[in-house]
């Protein structure tokens, strides 16, 4: 096969992934698709992170720990993102939604 070290393959995949996802992130307006693109960018960045540092024989444990932390942080952000998507959906859907309109006066004040 073409001589290409694992590290640079990971690097290239990560870079391409991040590029693709970043462009789509800026163009799509459906919120869930945007969050998916965000996750893909996260995956791409972690690939780059480990790809950059993966040139020692047993892959260097420190970047792996960083990648692990990155994954957990991405899931935390995605979770909050989805909660907000639901909140946006409740706000902008004209039909009544289950959680009542508290603080009417505070409501239009912040419009």
């Amino acid at each position: 096969m073409i001589e290409l070290s694992v590290a640079s393959l990971t690097l290239w995949t990560g870079a391409l992934l991040t590029g693709l996802a970043l462009v789509r992130l800026l163009t799509v307006e459906d919120l869930i698709a945007r969050l998916i693109a965000l996750n893909l960018t996260g995956g791409g960045t972690l690939l780059i992170l480990v790809g950059l540092a993966a040139r020692t024989e047993p892959v260097d444990p420190v970047p792996q720990a960083l990648a692990l932390t990155g994954i957990v942080i991405t899931v935390a952000f995605t979770g909050v993102g989805l909660i907000l998507v639901r909140a946006v959906d409740d706000d902008e859907r004209p039909s009544r939604s289950a959680d009542g309109r508290a603080h009417g006066h505070d409501e239009e004040a912040n419009a």
Binding site: M1, I2, E3, S5, V6, S8, L9, T10, L11, T13, L16, L17, T18, G19, L20, A21, V23, T27, V28, D30, I32, I36, A37, N39, L40, G43, L46, I48, L52, A53, A54, R55, T56, P58, V59, D60, P61, V62, A65, L66, A67, L68, T69, I71, V72, I73, V75, A76, F77, T78, G79, V80, I83, R86, D89, D90, R93, A98, D99, G100
Partner: protein, 324 residues
């Protein structure tokens, strides 16, 4: 699976598969196909991590990056009504998007490889901290280097990471569906959320079969973490999977109530307690050396796993709970 230094057919095909599924997910026509393709992408990515010799990251990607995130996306996409217009982007826009993305990716890749290829900073010592890290791991009371780094060498990172999860959980508590808005019920909400249609027997059977196995798997992951890939995060995610399964199948009903909130607090509190203990006994925060370091780490991991599971479940409830 010791990683070959040169790229074999498996790695190449996986890399290609990753790029193709990513493109398909990003430019999928409907929201649900996007989510399903995202799951497929997650599976490929997990395998890819395993193949290039990062088993821990592979496991984490599988359980958290694909498992829990997939569940979150899946349920939120299905519960939310489909938007009026679906994403009817024209072919030309898709091609342009793909070309643009590939261009930026190629540019980034070119610069990154050039930077990575350059010999590391003149100090000439072996690249990365592999040597020093593996040398220091025995002192942490845990054999597996990754867990050693995560829970001892750089335990402060993990503590801050737990704070990130705590923050997500707090947002979940704030946005919990009114009926089970945890400890701060403000006035009775309208009809409390019913359980939905009674679960069909086969589902109940499936859940009662699979749930214990996954719980066992979570426990195994936790304890395996000290010697081989595994650890608190993966175990926590498995726990969350069980909770999500129970909630969605309707077998049981979870609320973000005082019990759940207590679980949310436990992990960070325990970590800070260990940190304080390290300061009092040793002379630095989070100091964990000596013979009983291993047992303390394991105990801490158990609590962390429970909290991570509870946090992810809370986020699931807040985002995917039925509104009507």
């Amino acid at each position: 699976m010791s990683p070959e230094t040169t790229v074999g057919p498996l790695q190449l095909s996986l890399a290609l598969a990753l790029i193709v599924t990513a493109a398909a997910t990003l430019y999928s026509r409907h929201r649900l196909t996007g989510v399903v393709l995202f799951l497929v992408f997650g599976v490929f990515l997990s395998i890819y991590w395993g193949v290039i010799g990062a088993p821990d990251v592979a496991l984490a990607e599988a359980v958290i990056g694909t498992g829990v995130t997939g569940a979150l996306f899946g349920y939120t996409a299905t519960v939310m009504p489909r938007p009026a217009h679906d994403r009817r982007g024209s072919i030309a826009r898709t091609i342009a998007g793909l070309a643009g993305g590939a261009g930026i990716g190629a540019g980034l890749g070119y610069f990154l490889t050039r930077a990575a290829a350059a010999p590391p900073g003149g100090s000439g010592e072996p690249v990365g901290l592999t040597g020093q890290a593996t040398a220091a791991v025995p002192a942490t009371g845990v054999e597996h280097p990754i867990t050693g780094v995560l829970l001892n060498l750089r335990s402060y990172d993990t503590l801050m990471e737990m704070v990130v999860l705590l923050s997500a959980a707090t947002v979940a508590v704030a946005f919990a569906p009114r009926s089970d808005a945890g400890s701060s019920t403000r006035g009775g909400a309208p009809a409390s959320e019913q359980r939905g249609p009674a679960a069909p027997p086969i589902v109940r059977g499936f859940v009662s079969l699979v749930a214990p196995v996954v719980l066992l798997f979570a426990a195994w992951l936790l304890f395996a973490g000290s010697t081989q890939p595994g650890g608190a995060f993966q175990a926590g995610a498995a726990l969350a999977a069980v909770m999500i399964l129970v909630q969605t199948s309707g077998v049981g009903r979870l609320r973000i109530g005082p019990a759940m909130i207590c679980l949310l607090l436990l992990g960070v509190l325990a970590f800070i307690a260990v940190g304080l203990g390290g300061l009092v006994l040793g002379d630095a925060w989070l100091l964990l050396r000596g013979e009983h370091a291993g047992t303390v780490t394991i105990a801490l991991e158990c609590i962390l796993a429970v909290t991570i599971g509870a946090s992810l479940a809370a986020v699931f409830l807040a985002s995917a709970g039925r509104r009507r």
